[in-house]
């Protein structure tokens, strides 16, 4: 391997005086933003939901930190509360998280310095890929010098995650002493947040059809096939939406 292949962020000779640390700090500062605020509110709502579901503080925080994708976290919470087994729960969460793969794939060519960035650094950074950080990164990173993008993204993702992590813990502890109505309003925050952001993230008619199908089929499967209802909702509703919109798109081929 040549010398240029080594990761030397702080003392590359031809580098302008902006170091990785500075980029990271800039990323962290950029984290003070409206999307991050909305995400925090959504997690505050989730803390209330987790507490009502019977999760402990440690479990709630472990989920926030390890999973770091609110839809998957909410699915897993539902799975734990309904006593779902490990394998069905893993399948449900995996199905809810598949979208992270194309998202990460789309981010990779933007964030890496070809021939310089190590795969393990990207694997580490990929943990921050979730709707909020991803939308922000896709929009803002292309305007930055290539060298600064990965540290900037790490600073942004790290700051958002740490802040949300702390706020989730604080609100978990506070929700007990909240008036019932405020707590109730918090529980509604999660579904409404998803209702709006899921629609906003939809790019094709297939996505929108799948959303409508899921909304309608969710309660039906919950009534008739409790336990595995989420899996069935996803597979049946999603496949139905895909097939119908595919036929509309390109006919019976």
């Amino acid at each position: 391997m040549s010398a240029s292949d080594r990761f030397t962020p702080d003392n590359s000779p031809a580098e302008p005086p902006v170091t990785s640390g500075v980029w990271m700090a800039r990323g962290a500062r950029a984290a003070v933003s409206i999307p991050a605020f909305i995400l925090t509110a959504a997690f505050v709502g989730y803390a209330g939901l987790a507490r009502e579901t019977g999760l402990t503080l440690a479990e709630t925080l472990a989920m926030t930190g390890f999973v770091w994708a609110l839809p998957s976290i909410v699915v897993l919470t539902g799975a734990i509360s309904s006593g779902m087994g490990l394998i069905p729960a893993a399948i449900a969460v995996a199905l809810a998280s598949v979208r992270l793969m194309p998202m990460t794939m789309a981010l990779m060519p933007i964030i890496k310095v070809p021939g310089k960035t190590k795969t393990w650094q990207l694997l580490l950074a990929s943990h921050f890929v979730a709707v909020t950080a991803w939308v922000f990164a896709m929009k803002n990173l292309p305007d930055m010098p290539r060298e600064g993008r990965l540290p900037f993204f790490l600073g942004f993702g790290g700051a958002v995650t740490s802040f949300v992590f702390c706020m989730t813990g604080v609100s978990y502890l506070l929700v007990e002493s909240m008036p019932g109505m405020v707590a109730g309003a918090l529980f509604l925050l999660t579904p409404v947040y998803f209702l709006c952001s899921l629609w906003g993230a939809a790019r094709l008619n297939a996505d929108r059809a799948a959303m409508v199908a899921g909304l309608l089929l969710g309660p039906v499967f919950f009534a008739y096939l409790p336990g595995l209802d989420l899996l069935w909702t996803g597979l049946v509703g999603g496949s139905l939406a895909y097939l119908v919109t595919r036929i509309v798109r390109r006919g019976l081929r």
Binding site: L55, V75, A96, R99, P102, M105, L189, P191, G234, G237
Partner: protein, 123 residues
């Protein structure tokens, strides 16, 4: 190891096993695959469209369950109020050119106002 100690241990640790395997692994594996696949898969390919449909429907199922069958204090509110609040929020989201913040705020304001109204009528 005594039976009760074993059960207790399992009860304490089982949720964390769930979180690590069914949560962390089941989620991060897609991020890792995304890094490793890095642009080799077409984002608008038919397979990925179907995959996105399944994921979207699954999460939408969670949404409607949270609104129709909530847990805790929210379960005390009438179903029509929760549905109306969600509908108002979604409508406001559209009216505000798809700004999530506006949608969430509108739904919350409607819920609280309606809740106070229901309480006032009942009390």
């Amino acid at each position: 190891m005594g039976g009760t100690t074993g059960t207790l241990l399992l009860e304490t640790w089982w949720p964390f096993v769930m979180i690590l395997v069914a949560g962390w692994l089941a989620t991060d594996v897609w991020r890792w695959l995304g890094v490793l696949a890095g642009g080799r898969l077409r984002e608008d390919g038919e397979l990925l469209i179907w995959v996105r449909c399944v994921a979207t429907a699954l999460v939408a199922g969670v949404i409607s369950k949270l609104i129709l069958f909530p847990q805790g204090v929210l379960a005390e509110t009438p179903l029509w109020l929760r549905l109306a609040a969600a509908a108002v929020g979604f409508a406001a989201f559209f009216a505000a050119r798809q700004r999530v913040f506006v949608g969430v705020l509108a739904a919350e304001v409607f819920l609280i106002a309606g809740w106070l109204g229901v309480d006032a009528v009942a009390g």
